[in-house]
């Protein structure tokens, strides 16, 4: 069947213009809902980035007994280096720890300490906070090891918080996507309902279902694309705005820790536009199905 691109393009353009109020309504619906979806996706990724950042900061410390000999200390050090889940370790000698203790302890407590009685230590960063526990299990009680310490309970709380946050943002995004889908479907359905006369005439004179469906789908596609490009721009702007508040000189702030790479932003915008195009075209196809039966 000669389904000419020319016919579809012409039908699409004239119908978009003739029903411009509906077009604007549909485009705005797509834009607003997808901007919200995009924002939720950004936050979700931001939370995950912040988690990585914080994870990189957790430390597990293996304290050596003051009495430990050189070979014991060396054994622990080389074993730590070989563990695949330990990112990096640094060795703090007895003298270094003695000086650090001076700054951390009260003068009363510090008085009892000498360089010889201060434990040397390995400060290690595991790939994931939960591996601190593995390091603990491995080295606690090993010859020459005094104890293994890590902020275990803090790690646990932090992990739970971030997991919850990620889920919250993801489900917000999903709920928004769903309601955006329903809103858009409804808008398209209203547009088609307004033109059911046209559809019935098309069927009467023997237009095939694809011939009826395609102009509507391409119309929905155009609306979805315009709306989602607007949404993508909003997401982009939002990202830029948040970034402008994230001060690189102060990496402790959450905003700085959450910041996204260019690829993550590009990916989010891509997903937003893809969803818009899909919702527009597939939504139209679904919305028109009811009018095609008979």
């Amino acid at each position: 069947m000669p389904l000419s691109a020319d016919y579809i393009a012409r039908e699409t353009a004239t119908n978009l213009w003739r029903n411009r109020l509906m077009t604007i309504a549909a485009v705005l619906t797509v834009a607003v809902s997808l901007a919200l979806v995009g924002a939720a996706l950004l936050l979700k990724q931001g939370a995950s980035n912040a988690e990585n950042y914080w994870q990189r900061g957790t430390q597990v410390t293996v304290w050596m007994k003051a009495s430990a000999n050189g070979s014991e200390s060396h054994a622990v050090g080389s074993e730590l280096k070989q563990l695949p889940y330990v990112h990096a370790c640094s060795y703090h000698s007895q003298l270094a720890d003695y000086h650090e203790a001076k700054t951390l302890l009260s003068p009363g407590e510090f008085q009892a300490l000498t360089v010889q009685t201060t434990p040397a230590s390995y400060r290690c960063t595991p790939n994931q906070p939960q591996y601190a526990q593995a390091v603990y299990n491995r080295f606690n009680g090993q010859p020459g090891v005094l104890k293994v310490s890590a902020p275990f309970s803090q790690i646990h709380t932090m992990e739970e918080t971030i997991t919850v946050l990620q889920w919250v943002f993801l489900s917000v995004a999903l709920v928004l996507l769903l309601s955006a889908g329903v809103l858009i479907l409804n808008t398209i359905r209203m547009a088609i309902f307004a033109r059911r006369r046209e559809v019935s005439v098309m069927k009467l004179v023997g237009a095939t279902n694809w011939f009826i469906r395609l102009p509507f789908m391409s119309e929905g596609l155009v609306q979805g694309l315009i709306g989602s490009v607007v949404a993508a721009a909003v997401v982009f702007g939002l990202h830029a705005l948040l970034n402008s508040f994230a001060n690189p000189n102060n990496p402790g702030t959450v905003l700085y820790q959450m910041r996204l790479s260019g690829w993550e932003l590009f990916g989010t915008d891509f997903v937003v536009v893809l969803i818009g195009a899909l919702i527009g075209s597939v939504g139209s196809a679904i919305a028109i199905r009811r009018f095609l039966d008979v």
């Binding site: 069947m1 000669p2 389904l3 000419s4 016919y7 003739r18 006369r197 046209e198 019935s200 005439v201 098309m202 069927k203 009467l204 004179v205 023997g206 237009a207 095939t208 279902n209 011939f211 009826i212 008979v294």
Partner: protein, 243 residues
Amino acid sequence: MIRFDNVTKVYKNGTVAVRSVSLDIQKGEFVFLVGPSGSGKTTCIRMLLREELPDRGRIWVAGREIIHMPKWRVPYLRRNVGCVFQDFRLLPNKTVFQNVAFALEVIGRPKSVVETQVPQVLELVGLSKKRDNLPHELSGGEQQRVAVARAFVNRPLILLADEPTGNLDPGTSQGIMRLLDRINRTGTTVVVATHDAALVDWMRRRVVELDQGTIVRDQARGVYGIDATTGSVPRTEVGARRS
């Protein structure tokens, strides 16, 4: 060209609209379908377009059995069967020309065909001068002519008309009938469902009368009704002079 074989249609609510109807219409015939309101005329036409499926029996249109026809073929059936209704069914925001052209465009006919066929058929229905008017700027009779033009522009084998003159005054109705007659003379089979006794009497064509879904009369050169008191057919002249 059209064949009903023992067709029965029962609507979902239990109404038996058509009951064991068998009917043969040859190529090039002009047939009136008459009968009181609710006798099943519209149902027959809807079945011919496959807008409704019968519960029993078989129907052939243009040599094809249409009851077991796959769904995707239905549009191609409808391209062979033009259709006109009492309420015209024009698109209000398209001009006369666009309304007629629409019927060709949506079945994928190229622009060149549209540009030659549409003016021809507008000439045939006598609306060349109004080609750029919108439907609401036309009289009822003119609107129905546009509808006929739209139904005929694709040169279908069959033209169905359901109460085409239901909204028109007698003079205008005759005009439409003359037009249908002219189309019939091009070889197109024409079936007209109508209440309009005067027109049926005036045209003197084959009349099929339905009552409560069954065929009660099939007359080669008939009139609308048999005189109830005498049981005789009214004389020709009575109908012919009515105009």
